[in-house]
Every structure is written in C-alpha cells, then in structure tokens.
C-alpha cells in the first residue's frame, strides 16, 4: 500500500459543539476533579500557615472573606463540588449498570441541580458584602 494520510485528532475539542451528553459529563467530571485537587492543596497551604496562633487564623480568614473575589470563588467552588458529587453518583449508577439508557437525563439533572444549589447559596456567600 502506498502512503496513507493521518488526519490526526479530528474529533478533538474543535468539535465541542457536536459532543454528546456523555462526553460533556466526562469532560466536566475531569475538569471539576482537577479544580478540587487544586483547591485542596491551596486550602492546606493557606490554613497551615494560618494556624500559628488563633489571632492569625482569624485575621487570615477575615482578610480573605473581605475580598469580593473570594466570595465569588466560594460559590464557584460549591458549584464544582456539587457537580462532581452528583455526577459521581451518576457514574456509580453507570458502573452498577443501573439506568444506562437514561444516563444523559441524569447528566442534565445533575447540571440543573448544581445550578439551583449554587444560585441558592448566593445570599449566604455574598451576605454582608454589599
């Protein structure tokens, strides 16, 4: 056979508009997972430097909470964690072979639930800022 042509990753992110529910669920699950890992290390780093004295701990936290961007990031973190949990439950069902024919519905359901919970948390997280 003469030379063939390798089209490379035709089905890469360039085709995101054609991704199916299962593919989006996979991408978002990875994405949120990495964010949670990143957050975990930041969390440990910040808190471990703040635990030298009770006053320092209070100062650090109050300083962080005074920043509007931190409040918004907290809402984002909640959304990320909630989605990861809900989709994790979905994946558990998939692993157990329960309801595989409605896996796309459970993905949309976890997105909607995430949105509702994140929106409902806004008054709590942004309380006292404005």
């Amino acid at each position: 056979m003469s030379s063939t042509y390798d089209r490379g990753t035709v089905e890469s992110f360039g085709r995101w508009q054609e991704f199916s529910a299962g593919m989006w669920a996979w991408i978002l699950h990875k994405f949120t997972g990495w964010i949670l890992i990143g957050y975990l290390f930041t969390h440990i780093a910040v808190l471990s430097t703040a635990t030298q004295s009770p006053e320092m701990y209070t100062d650090t936290l109050q300083g962080l909470e005074a920043l509007l961007v931190v409040r918004f990031l907290e809402i984002g973190l909640l959304a990320v964690a909630v989605f990861h949990i809900l989709n994790g439950i979905r994946l558990l069902m998939v692993d157990l072979g329960v309801g595989l024919e409605s896996q796309h519905k459970s993905f949309y359901a976890s997105l909607i639930l995430t949105a509702i919970i994140a929106l409902a948390s806004i008054p709590t997280f942004l309380g006292g800022m404005f």
């Binding site: 056979m1 003469s2 030379s3 063939t4 042509y5 390798d6 089209r7 990753t9 035709v10 089905e11 085709r15 054609e18 199916s20 529910a21 299962g22 593919m23 669920a25 996979w26 994946l91 998939v94 692993d95 157990l96 072979g97 595989l100 024919e101 896996q103 796309h104």
Partner: protein, 287 residues
C-alpha cells in the same frame, strides 16, 4: 473487381480522419451527453442537495493534499447518503472512492463521518441531515484514499478477543443443534448484531489516544462469547483474562460515544460495564 475498387475509396475517405481522432471525437460526444444528462437530472429535480466530500489520493498529484470537493446531487424522498455518493461517483467523478456493498446496513462497509458523526451511509436519510452534507472518512484511522480508511488495526483488535464459539463439549449426535436457553439468547442478542463497521472504535476518544485499547467493538464481541452459557467455565476465565488486562475494559471511561453512534443500537457501554463487574467478581476473594 468493381467491388474491390469501391472498398478502396471508402478506406481513403476514412483515412482523412484518423482512427484516434474519431475515437476522441466519440469520447467527447459521450462526455457532452453525460454532462447534459447530469444537468438535465439536476434541472428536473425539484430539490438538489450539495455534498462536500473529503478527497485524498497519494498517487494523484493534486489530491495529495486533502481537500473537499462539492457535488450537486438531485434529491428525492428516501434518498440515503450512499445513494447520493453513488450518484456523485457514477455521474460526476468515477475516481471518487468509498466502500459499499449490501446497501442495507448489514455488511458494515460504509461507516463514514457524516456531518460530524459516525454513521452508516446506507442507513442515513439525506432528508434528516443539515445541508450541505459533509462526508469524511472515519476519524482516527489512516485514510487510504478518499473515504476509504485502513481498517487493519480494527480487525486486529477484533481478532484479539478470539471471536469464535469455543464450547467444551459438543452435542452427541452429529446433526444435533447446540441449544441455548431462550433467556441466555436474549441476554446476548444485542451483542450479536455487530457488523464490524468500526463506527464505535472511530468515535471512541480513548481508543484514539491508546492504540492498544481493545475498543468497544472487540469488547462487545468478547461479551457475546463470555456471556454465552454454552461455553465452559475455563474458556470464560480465559476470555475474562483478555478482557480485564490493562488495555481491556478498564480503559473505558463511559463517555457513551460508541453507544451513541452504533448503527445497530448495541448498548456497548452497558456491555463493557457488565464485563467490568464480571472481571471484579472473578478476582474478588473474601476468604
């Protein structure tokens, strides 16, 4: 004598136009007729559809760099993508190359990437697609020419799971059927539908990045035999050993791409997941 002379003059007249010239003129005439035929067909049709087809041929100078060619094809109700491709090949460009055979979604030859999705050309209605219709060879496989891809790797993976029935014992009588319970038949029914078209393998993101991954089709094939009750337990253990290796079922990350594109509606992800559970069960020991 007189007849001979007459023949001679005829030859003289014909020699004025050389045979090659006559042949070329006839060919041009045919070509004009054919072009007119296409124009008429396109004119007569109430609707025409534009096809954008991937072209590549390492042996033709201006096709070495892949490109898309457009073809205008008369549309009729019930027309499949394969019908349109056949029209384009027969009427416009006889060098347009694609695999097809049975035209009824059984042979599995014409899995193509149509409007960004793996589909069987013969099973896809033109009317159900967005126009213009974009036809490409299956992604993640090397293109040999136009819409033809190299399926060798796919077949290697299929053969790797030993896709043949291998029972411990045969029925006593030579002509006796080897029966299976209706429940067991029902269980493996969908997995037997595979037509080896390669659409699932091409849609799988994991298979694209991991050449050793068995892929959905091969695992489904393994499922078909591992779940067959007529095979012995040793054979089943053998099959599970192939399935549960590093590049077997555990590569599947349940993106459901294969299940979405399978033209025979085989619940591939479900079968892979069931084999994962089988693999765990056969390895877990609580004593």
């Amino acid at each position: 004598m007189s007849t001979q002379v007459k023949e001679q003059t005829e030859v003289d007249e014909e020699e004025q136009v050389s045979p090659g010239e006559r042949r070329r003129e006839k060919k041009r005439q045919l070509q004009r007729e054919r072009e007119q035929e296409i124009l008429d067909a396109v004119d007569e049709a109430e609707q025409t559809v534009e096809l954008k087809i991937f072209r590549f041929d390492p042996e033709v100078a201006d096709k070495q760099e892949p490109r898309f060619d457009s073809f205008t094809v008369p549309f009729h109700r019930g027309m499949t993508v394969l019908d349109a491709l056949i029209f384009a090949r027969d009427k416009y460009d006889s060098s347009l190359t694609f695999r097809h055979s049975c035209r009824q979604a059984v042979c599995g030859s014409d899995a193509l990437f149509i409007n960004g999705r793996q589909r069987l050309a013969c099973k896809t209605q033109m009317g159900e697609l967005d126009w213009p219709v974009r036809v490409e060879p299956l992604p993640h496989q090397d293109v040999v020419k136009d819409l033809v891809v190299d399926m060798e790797h796919f077949y290697d993976q299929m053969h790797a799971v030993e896709p043949y029935f291998d029972p411990d014992e045969l029925p006593d009588g030579e002509l006796e059927a080897q029966t299976q319970s209706p429940e067991n038949r029902e269980k493996i029914k969908l997995s037997t539908r595979c037509i080896w078209c390669g659409a699932c393998m091409s849609s799988c993101n994991i298979a694209a990045g991991d050449n050793k991954y068995l892929g959905p089709a091969a695992i489904n094939k393994a499922y078909r035999f591992a779940m067959d009750e007529r095979e012995g337990s040793d054979k089943k253990a053998d099959r599970l050993r192939i399935i549960e290796q590093e590049h077997g079922v555990w590569r599947c990350q349940t993106q459901f791409s294969c299940t979405e594109v399978c033209p025979k509606d085989i619940p591939l992800t479900e079968h892979i997941q069931e084999l994962k559970r089988e693999a765990v069960k056969s390895n877990l020991k609580f004593w």
